[in-house]
Assembly symmetry: C2
Homo-oligomer: 266 residues x 2
C-alpha cells in the first residue's frame, strides 16, 4: 500500500502558523520524519488562504524538496495553486484531487491528463456527498467517463470513497467499503485512496477506530492511504493485515519489517 | 461476539502442573480473571492425560464452578471426559468438539443432541485437515447432514474453519476466511468459532497478527472466538471492528465499553 504522509497540512493550526511565518525548520522536520518512517508521498496542503495559496504552496514545495527525495501529493482545491505546484515539483506528483464537480473536471483534469500524473478522485459532485453507495457509484462512473475521454488510464485514478464519521452514521465506514468493492468489481484497474481519520471523528480512542477501518479497507481494495506514517498502530495493522489476507508471500514483508524495527506493540 | 476464555488449558505446562497438583487457587485465579474480563464461556481442557482425563476434567469443572457463574466450554477429544463433564456442569455448556471424524460423530453428537448443547464442529475428518476450501466445505456439508439428522438445529453449531499457521502457508488464514464466507452464504443459521493464535505460530509480534486476523474473521462471519479475554489488543479490535462494520448502532457498545474502561491503547 502507498503511504501518503498527512502531516504537512495547513488546515491544522500549528502548520498554518509555520507557513505564515515561513518557518522552514518546522515544515522540514515534518517532511524528514515522515520520509524516514517510509512515506511514499508527502501530502502538501497550504491551507485555504485564498489569494495567497499558490504562493504558500510554492514555498511549501521548495521547503520540503530541499530536504527529502520523496514525491509530493499536491493537495488543493485551488486551480492556480495546483498549476504552480505542477511547475515546481521535482518528481511526478499525485494530484489531490478531482471529483464529480464540474469545476474540478474542467480545471484539474486537463492538467493531470497533460502531465500524466496520478490523481485522487473524490466521489462527490455539485450536489455534495451522496449518502448511499448507488449514487457514489454513479459519480464514479461519470468521473471515469471523463478521465477515459481525457486519455487518463484507470491505473492513474485513485478513487476516494469518502468514509464518513461513525459518530453521525452507523454505516459511515460500511458505505465506503461497499463502494470500493463495487467499483473494484467493475473497474479492476482503478486504485483506491482515502484518509482514515474521518471515520473516528467524535469518538474516544480514535486511533483504534482508524486501525480497525484500515484493516477492513485493505480487504476491500484500498491501496493508498493518507495517514500519519508515525502512527505505530496503523503501520502494525497494515503489515499484519496484508499478511492475514494472503498477500505477503512467505511472510517476507512482515518479517522484514519486524527485523528493521518497524513492528512492535507499544 | 461470544468470548470463550482460553486460559484453563491443560496442554500448557503450568496449567498441567496445577491440575496434577490439584492446585485449585491457580485454576480459580484464571477463572476469576477471565470472568471479570467479560468471558461468555470458560474453556476447560484437562490436557491429554489419557486414562486420568475424565477425573481431571471433573476436578477442573468443580474447581471453576466454585468461584464463577460462567458457563463452560468442555474441551476434550475423550468421550468419557465429555460424558463426565456433561453430568457435572451447572449451566448449559458449549461442547468442544465434533468433527467429520466417524468417532466424534458417533460418540459426541448423540450426547449434544440429547442435551440440546451448542457444539463446535471442526472441519477435519478421518483423512485429516483438508488444504483447500472445497474439501472443507464438503466436510461441513457432511457434518450438517449428520447434525440435522440428529435433530440439532444449525443455530447450535459453531463451525471452526481451522485457520492455519501463516508461517507455513501464505493462505493459511485466507482459506479459513473464505470457508466461513461460503458456509455463511449457504447455511445462514450456522455460527462460527475459532481460535486466533494458530495463524501467528512461528511469527514475531504474534498478538498483532492475531488482532489482524480477528478483524478479518469478524467481517467473514465469526461470532465466537476462543481467546485470552485479558488481551487488551484483541478486545480493542473486537469493539472497533464491530463499529466499523456498521454493527454497533449509534456507537453504543463502543462508547459504553470505553466508559467502563475496557478500551485503551497500551
Amino acid at each position: 500500500m502507498l503511504i501518503i504522509g498527512e502531516k504537512i497540512n495547513g488546515t491544522l493550526k500549528k502548520t498554518a502558523a509555520a507557513i505564515a511565518a515561513r518557518d522552514a525548520a518546522f515544515i522540514q522536520d515534518l517532511a524528514q520524519r515522515q520520509a524516514a518512517a517510509g512515506a511514499d508521498y508527502l501530502d502538501v496542503n497550504a491551507g485555504t488562504a485564498s489569494a495567497g495559496e499558490p504562493e504558500d504552496l510554492a514555498w511549501l514545495i521548495d521547503c520540503v524538496q530541499a530536504v527529502v527525495e520523496v514525491p509530493l501529493c499536491l493537495d488543493s482545491a485551488n486551480l492556480a495553486a495546483i498549476k504552480v505546484g505542477l511547475e515546481r515539483v521535482k518528481y511526478m506528483p499525485l494530484v489531490n484531487s478531482i471529483s464529480g464537480e464540474a469545476r474540478r473536471l474542467e480545471g484539474v483534469l486537463p492538467l493531470v491528463a497533460e502531465r500524466g500524473c496520478p490523481v485522487i478522485a473524490l466521489l462527490l459532485d455539485d450536489q455534495g456527498i451522496p449518502a448511499d453507495v448507488e449514487r457514489r457509484l454513479a459519480i464514479a462512473g461519470r468521473i471515469l467517463d471523463c478521465t477515459r475521454q481525457a486519455g487518463v488510464p484507470d491505473e492513474r485514478i485513485y478513487v476516494d470513497p469518502l468514509a464518513m464519521a461513525l459518530s453521525t452514521r452507523t454505516e459511515g465506514a460500511l458505505i465506503a467499503l461497499e463502494t470500493m468493492r463495487s467499483i473494484h468489481a467493475d473497474h479492476t484497474g482503478v486504485h483506491f485512496c482515502c484518509g482514515l481519520s474521518n471515520v473516528s471523528f467524535g469518538l474516544p480512542v480514535r486511533r483504534l477506530v482508524n486501525q480497525a477501518f484500515l484493516a477492513q479497507a485493505l480487504a476491500a481494495g484500498l491501496d493508498a492511504a493518507i495517514i500519519d506514517p508515525l502512527d505505530q498502530g496503523l503501520i502494525n495493522m497494515l503489515y499484519a493485515t496484508e499478511l492475514v489476507l494472503g498477500r505477503d508471500h512467505f511472510c517476507r514483508n512482515y518479517t522484514k519489517a519486524f527485523r528493521s524495527g518497524k513492528l512492535f506493540l507499544a
